[in-house]
Symmetry: C2
Subunit: 228 residues, 2 copies
């Protein structure tokens, strides 16, 4: 977790979410901000702790992870650039889930008090943040639905589609997730993940060997997602 001086002026966060925010406010927000490097596997936000800051992820891939008496569940996978921790604020500020780096990450911590002050003082900024927050909510609803009434086939298809379209943005990629993590994402056992990937492979839908994954027949994957 090395620390650097954040180079805020060229930051994606500023250009997008902070659109309309006066330079002085932006600088004030990030005045004491330190940029932090996380290695793959490291904890970024811990479930159950009271949060003192938001995390602006400028580089890398993370998992939202909920631990429930030892049984893990991956709520979603997200990648930079994004703002982490929104769901935790404005109520009791207790983190509902943990966030882990599943690839090396670069992030900035944003002081929560300053952040709250700022959303109250700037309308456009608050609208941006609210919009982001409800978008996340929507996404989680769709995950929720996938889990609720698809079987493992369909859920794994969903996951592969999500990873391919939103995370790696390619039909060929190197998985950052272990089989166990895939299982925690799909809500099934790791053996079941393996069996399912094997079946997909036998059917010529994907080519999977270890961490290397290639989607050969995207259409069929989408068909399985719909019927599974």
């Amino acid at each position: 977790m090395d620390k650097f001086i954040a180079d805020c002026l060229e930051c994606h966060f500023r250009e997008n979410l902070c659109q309309g925010l006066p330079a002085i406010d932006f600088q004030n927000l990030f005045e004491s901000t330190t940029q932090i490097n996380y290695k793959k596997g490291e904890l970024i936000l811990k479930q159950g702790l009271k949060t003192k800051h938001l995390v602006y992820l400028s580089k890398g891939i993370v998992k939202f992870y909920h631990d429930d008496n030892g049984k893990g569940l991956i709520i979603t996978i997200d990648k930079a650039p994004t703002l982490l921790g929104l769901a935790n604020i404005l109520n009791e500020d207790i983190n509902v889930f943990s966030i882990y780096a599943i690839e090396d990450c670069v992030a900035c911590l944003i002081d929560l008090t300053k952040f709250k002050f700022l959303i109250l003082s700037n309308r456009q900024f608050m609208l941006n943040i609210m919009s982001l927050s409800t978008a996340m909510f929507r996404k989680s609803i769709f995950n929720f639905i996938s889990l609720a009434h698809k079987q493992v086939n369909g859920r794994i298809a969903d996951i592969l589609i999500h990873l391919s379209e939103n995370i790696y943005q390619s039909h060929t990629f190197i998985l950052s997730l272990s089989r166990q993590e895939l299982a925690e994402f799909a809500g099934c056992s790791k053996e079941n993940v393996i069996h399912t990937l094997r079946n997909f492979d036998d059917d010529g839908i994907i080519k999977a060997s270890g961490k290397n994954l290639e989607i050969l027949d995207f259409d069929r994957l989408q068909k399985i997602s719909k019927t599974g």
Copy 2:
């Protein structure tokens, strides 16, 4: 769907969510609002339609319902007083799910344009709304987790606990939901709901006959929720 002039001045919405809102703004917001009665089973918000208003529910119980190619899923059950439709606004304003009355309801429609104008013009009001919105998000995460790695036993226990604690606020109540709807809430078949309720009954945990339900052993129900 009879219409009445809303009696806004004594309304719970005003006393709570609109705290800090000047009387003039409140009156303006509800100026053209009509109070509406919904019969049990009636549709309040329709999934897929562009929404023109929020719904303030002042009386009754509703289900959030997502239809996915004929397969239904109840996302949550909520009761008055509450504000419906928040998750839909600020993005594309397309309803992600439908909302149905599962008991007779009374509601006020709130014009979306006026509402948006108001949250932008009043900080405290916006904070109240954001807080409500993230609270909903949190709740949905917990449902999500329940579905993802509990089996039917545990999910049904969760549902009974939720209904008892949050909706009916009693250990004895008359279910507003059919067996089929319970199944859509638990993400399983209606037969499975029936079997499970029967088992709970045989074990002396509940007494279920038709719509009448009594929780005899709340502790055991919580134990099942944790281990199932």
